[in-house]
């Protein structure tokens, strides 16, 4: 009987250790969820001006040029 209580305690101990290692921390989880629901902040940066956005366009393949 004594032996089985000891082994049960050992098992519980191991379980706790494993939980501590692999279960996510409650606070971490809360923070992660909070982040997911957070409304994105409005960017303080200006929008890309048209002159610069032209760099992002594909090249025109109707003309043969280098």
């Amino acid at each position: 009987m004594v032996k089985s209580i000891a082994s049960l305690l050992k098992l519980t101990n191991q379980r706790e250790k494993l939980s501590a290692k692999y279960m996510p921390n409650e606070n971490d989880l809360k923070n992660t969820i909070k982040k997911l629901y957070k409304t994105p902040e409005l960017s303080k940066k200006p929008f890309l001006p048209e002159s610069l956005s032209n760099w992002l366009l594909p090249f025109d393949f109707s003309k043969k040029k280098p």
């Binding site: 940066k45 929008f47 890309l48 393949f61 280098p66």
Partner: protein, 520 residues
Amino acid sequence: MIFESRTRVKRFEEEKYKELAYRYYDILNKIVGQPSTGIEIEQLEKPMLSIAKDSHGVIYYCRFLVDVTEHPSEEIILLLDARDKRDHRLENELRNGIKGKGKFSWLSKVNSEIITENAQLDDLSRQSGRAYFAYILADEYLWRLIEGVKKPMRKAIGQSEGVDIVNPALSVEEILILNKTKYASDRVVLPLFDNGRAGSGKSTMLYHLFAEYVMRRLKSKLPGRLLFLTYTKRLLEESKKTVENLLKVGTEFIGESLNDNELIGILNEAFWVFPEFLMHLIPQEERFRKFPAEKFITNFGDFSRAYDKITPKTAKLYSPDMAWHVIRTYIKGYNPTNELTPDDYRELPKKERNVPIEMYNWVWENVWPRYKENYWDTQDIVRYLIVKDAVPPEYSVIFCDEAQDFTRVELHFLWRLLIYREYDLRKQGKNLRIPLVFAGDPFQTINPTGFRWEALESGFYTEISEALDPEGLGLVEFRHEDLSFNYRSTAPIVRFGNLLQMWRKWFFKVSDQILQKPLA
């Protein structure tokens, strides 16, 4: 586009054809330009197989029109072979080829003058040993370089004596990647990581693409600067000259004029050797005070000489290359603001750690303190500029050749140069074509940095995405292209190289090898 069959490429390796190359150049120019003047053209087998001849030579060729999605509608002239006079035996072989027989049987797979499927284009690519843009024909010197004819008829436009111009020909595989990069807009195209082993000609592809951006700047006067970084002075000169020549012959070909002074101005401003580029960003007094020339470690060669002075003889447990690797990749090269301590190193993801912790500790204790005290290298300038927030976000186009020599911190610095980080990009749509292009070959590193494309991509992805796309809206995605064909070596050599790579993979437990495909 001009494609050359492998038979044609071999033909011009013969002395007889090399010496008379200019005659074939004239015929070819007429095939592309004005067929009616001075040559006879005959259709050997309808609809695509033709011959063009004058009194000096004959060229056997096919014309195709490409009509494939994501590929520009353009004409391909495939040069099959050349002879000094008509060769009836060859003509029979070509006719049989179209029927699927003999050594030209591959012609039957591309059995129409209009190429509508990628598979047909691939077949054509496999049979072609070389490709180049038709505008190259505007300059005989460049064309002769492509053909491997040693003695040029005349100097290239503006060519300096003793400057070795890089061959501007591309592999067909590269042309396909290049076209996709230039024209595609509905998928991930840029930023691009271009990975190719020696002989794949990846740098040449960079020159063609960069020339496009220079042209855009010249024509549209868009704001922002262009930057092309290399690691050596020789590469810098070659790259600049090749881009200049490509632009000049290209505009000559379409009958446009180019403002020479403006072009030279843009190129001089754009091309830099990396350490010099870094130095020019630092005010002169700071340069003298913080980075004295006599303490500069340029490369691994310098470091290995300094290593004897800074490491006690009795303590030398590891070779200088390992110490250099640890200092460059991790201690200074991993984090832009802090040195990576042994404790930090232990915390890195397993795949990011490629030296044992004992070695790390040893370098940290025995080499690093005296190296830090007595010397500096490019990473110190990079870290200095990042910490001082002195990286100018002024560049709209950034190209880096030999990217295998950049560390994580240096790459962090590069994206901070992008002008786009100053703006909110959310209105621009997804998969933005940010003109950021890297070419490299991990097997040609001049610094033993333990470079891996995966590490570069993951580091870059996190940092650029956080900076340009903090909400993860898919604004910036990266494209990775491996150049897999080896156009330079014969099949047995390619297979032998692959065998060594397999051994390397097995022996060092690495996964970054790229097995090359021989053409045959």
